[in-house]
């Protein structure tokens, strides 16, 4: 009798299953609008030219070795990352109350932050603190906080399906009604999966309520630079909250804006009230990291650090490579909307250009999504989420026609 006879088969992670199904499909016109990775207009993965350049420099540098990084990660990486999030002129950084924990992607940063909060926030080891995630949200948020030990994870109103926009009234209501000290996971920009962000005025209101009600701010920032093309614009909400005096966490990912998906480059930025608090916080972060992965991987952090800390490389990254990606996404949004409008597809399609970032919540319902996949071989998430990066000048007509057919034949 095996010790593991009772281990049940777990369902596959939806987004990866979608890609697996796509791969097996032999239809010549198949399109993958599932997983969130950038694609060129030839539908190819894109290693950023600046990344290629820096990788060559690293391989050729014989003075570099493969020794362990410190537990909290590469110092130059951590400081440069926090600077990218908070801005070059950040008063909080000048006050020495900002620290970073290098982590394995945005996921790793979220998990370390969640583990810390469960141990040290709102009492000691208080697993009952409510954690609020947007409805809908990135599907892994729930599991990250649950596996970190939180027992009470709740949705906050976010997406209004009827008006295809932000349910700001519902959102505010949830903020007002949340128990004091609840944790709120906020998407810094380019909300995943809806692509719908609060306006600056709405962010101000959110901050006002959160301050008054003593709610904890945990930003998830996976698309800085990628969303609008501007690092500053995409970090506006984070910086506003910091300027309002919040102690907060920011889980940063460099998967998308550096195209370094598989090197797992992330950073948990911690903004504390003062440097004394920060020191104690980081000492406890070390303990958490030590039993999770001991110390983080070196390669990706070196690439990002070299790039961010060298003016020419930074310029190439930002002004050339990031801009290329952001611009292509904006172009595809524009064209998809135009084509749907030209086809006379029922409904309004303004949300396609109003939404921001990699994803768009099309508004297609599950039956329509099934039609898209089965009949049209256009793969998208059951939620109706599409990855704009999967669109190219070669397939956009086919996709627009497919959406048109889905909307007109399936209710």
């Amino acid at each position: 009798m095996s010790v593991f006879s009772d281990v049940p088969q777990a369902p596959p992670v939806a987004v990866f299953k979608l890609t697996a199904d796509f791969r097996e499909d032999s239809h010549p016109q198949k399109v993958n609008l599932g997983v969130g990775a950038y694609r060129t207009d030839d539908c190819q993965p894109w290693v950023l030219p600046v990344v290629k350049k820096v990788e060559r420099l690293i391989v050729e540098d014989e003075s570099l070795n493969h020794e362990y990084l410190p537990i909290l990660g590469l110092p130059e990486f951590r400081s440069a990352s926090s600077k990218v999030a908070l801005g070059d002129d950040s008063a909080a950084i000048k006050d020495n109350r900002v620290g970073g924990v290098q982590a394995l992607g945005g996921t790793g940063a979220l998990r370390i932050g969640a583990e810390f909060l469960r141990r040290w926030y709102n009492g000691v080891n208080n697993t009952a603190t409510p954690v609020y995630v947007s409805a809908p949200t990135w599907e892994n948020h729930n599991a990250v906080f649950a596996d970190a030990g939180f027992k009470d994870i709740r949705p906050y109103h976010y997406w209004d399906a009827a008006k295809r926009g932000l349910d700001f009234t519902g959102f505010q209501d949830d903020l007002e009604k949340a128990p004091e000290h609840s944790i709120f996971v906020l998407h810094a920009c380019a909300h995943n999966p809806t692509g719908t962000d609060p306006t600056q005025e709405e962010w101000k209101k959110i901050a006002e309520i959160m301050k008054r009600r003593n709610l904890f701010v945990f930003f998830d920032s996976a698309y800085q630079g990628f969303a609008s093309g501007s690092l500053d614009k995409d970090a506006w909400a984070i910086r506003f909250f910091v300027s309002e005096g919040f102690e907060l966490f920011v889980a940063q990912s460099f998967s998308k804006n550096f195209g370094l998906y598989n090197e797992r480059v992330g950073n948990l930025t911690v903004v504390a009230q003062d440097s004394e608090n920060l020191t104690r916080i980081l000492s406890q972060m070390e303990k958490i990291v030590r039993t999770t992965w001991s110390n983080p991987p070196s390669q990706g952090a070196r690439i990002v650090s070299k790039t961010l800390n060298c003016p020419e490389l930074f310029a190439e990254w930002y002004a050339a490579n990031v801009k290329t990606m952001a611009d292509r996404v904006l172009l595809m949004r524009d064209q998809l909307k135009s084509k749907l409008q030209a086809l006379g597809t029922p409904g309004t399609w303004d949300h396609i250009t109003q939404q921001i970032g990699m994803f768009s919540f099309t508004g297609l319902n599950p039956k329509q999504v099934e039609f898209m996949i089965k009949e049209k071989h256009v793969y998208l998430m059951a939620s109706g989420r599409i990855n704009m990066c999967g669109l190219t000048s070669k397939n956009i007509d086919y996709v627009a026609q497919s959406i048109h057919d889905a909307v007109t034949t399936i209710q």
Partner: protein, 417 residues
């Protein structure tokens, strides 16, 4: 005036209190603390025998040639940076399992193992601990050898398991307490988890002999224990990868369906790239599939999928014949240098006129040596000779070179005579 002052304080506290007032200062890591103190020391003869990272005979970090060659090969391929599967790079996990279990392994032939890529040894142990915590129906207790790697305990604890110990190291002989181990293991409640160091025990360097392993395997089977092997030094211990994996393979042959953690930090010098594997040997391929699906569910909310670079290097080395031969040579070379340093240290102590028996310095295996120094002696050797080691008297032989082994012998003799 006192009243006014205290209410002023309370007022200020209310206005500017932090969320984190109650966060205690975490204690410094005992091993890394050694390096910190070492760095501050200005003595030109100082020696860092703390952390277990290999050093060459000049005391420098060593990047293996096979690693540099593999990196050049990889760079020329211009690969993309797309996400790996949750379970990691397929070519890597296959090679990783083969390395541990042997090419002819019946387990591999019947596909009844699941091997996932992990964040080096720590990540592997943690995934394993989380898996056991969630799915092991037996007692929550994990039995560690006494002593064990310091990080084992917090890893299992954070995963929700409880820690117990079985006798292992005998301080009177600086060797293996075989009798004590067997006695303790024979009393472990059925279905408990027992952790075994596959080779080059950390921190003692004391390994059971093959006949002793056989008896351990026997009693573990009688007690129906779940075996968790930690293999962080395959190849590094004796210089021979098959010899170092002997215990793991023997247990499997005897019918133990083990779980296994592997690290490539030391044997490939890939420390900072975080390359490791976690294997569950299952009843059959069907069970392996179920277990795999659950491992993915565990991994996804920690880091989604593992880093590519190190796994790609390791996989390239393992599956490119001349790189693999080169690797085996270099691993052999590293192990040999350590063995030579052991011999020279023992000889040096004798030469200094030490009356103690230092045979254990030669008998112990792998990167670490449990010198037998007591805490007061450790304190003295650090203070007076700038020889840095952990409080338990453990030294990393990798930090010893032909240039400083003489000084080390002098220093140890001085504090122990």
């Amino acid at each position: 005036i006192c009243l006014q002052f205290s209410s002023l304080l309370l007022f200020c506290f209310g206005l500017c209190s932090s969320w984190w007032g109650g966060v205690q200062m975490g204690p410094p890591d005992p091993i890394l603390g050694v390096t910190e103190a070492f760095k501050r020391d200005t003595n030109p003869k100082k020696m860092n025998l703390g952390v277990g990272a290999y050093r060459d005979d000049q005391g420098k970090p060593f990047v293996l040639s096979c690693v540099r060659k593999a990196e050049a090969l990889i760079a020329s391929k211009q690969l993309d940076k797309e996400y790996l599967p949750i379970g990691g790079l397929g070519e890597f996990t296959k090679a990783c399992a083969q390395l541990a279990l042997g090419n002819d392994s019946e387990v591999l032939k019947s596909s009844r193992n699941i091997t996932v890529q992990t964040i080096s040894g720590t990540g592997s142990l943690r995934i394993g601990a989380n898996f056991l915590s969630r799915f092991h129906g037996g007692p929550r207790d994990v039995y560690l050898p006494k002593p064990s790697w310091g990080n084992h305990t917090p890893i299992f604890r954070d995963a929700g398991m409880q820690l117990k110990a079985y006798r292992y190291y005998d301080p009177s002989t600086c060797g293996f307490d075989f009798k004590g181990a067997l006695e303790d293991i024979s009393k472990i409640p059925e279905q408990s988890v027992i952790l075994l160091h596959a080779c080059a025990h950390n921190p003692t360097g004391v390994d059971p002999r093959p006949e002793q392993w056989k008896e351990i395997a026997d009693i573990v089977k009688k007690r129906n224990l779940l075996v968790f092997f930690d293999m962080a030094y395959q190849g590094f211990a004796s210089g021979d990868i098959d010899r170092d994996a002997w215990a793991v393979r023997y247990f499997i042959e005897q019918g133990h369906n083990i779980v296994l953690s592997q690290s490539f930090a030391k044997n490939m010098g890939l420390y900072g790239e975080r390359v490791g594997g976690f294997t569950v040997v299952c009843k059959d391929a069907e069970e392996a599939k179920r277990v795999e699906s659950q491992l993915k569910i565990l991994i996804r909310p920690i880091y989604s999928n593992p880093p590519m670079n190190g796994a790609r290097i390791a996989s390239t080395i393992l599956s490119t014949p001349d790189l693999r031969s080169l690797w085996l040579e270099e691993v052999h070379g590293m192990a040999n240098r350590i063995i030579k340093m052991r011999e020279q240290l023992a000889a040096g102590l004798k030469k200094n006129g030490s009356s103690h028996n230092w045979q254990h310095v030669i008998d112990q295996i792998g990167m670490f040596c449990f010198t037998g120094l007591k805490p007061e002696q450790v304190e003295r050797i650090i203070k007076e000779y700038s020889v840095y080691m952990t409080k338990d008297g453990r030294i990393s032989m990798a930090g010893v070179s032909s240039g400083n082994v003489g000084y080390l012998a002098e220093a140890i003799h001085a504090v122990t005579k």
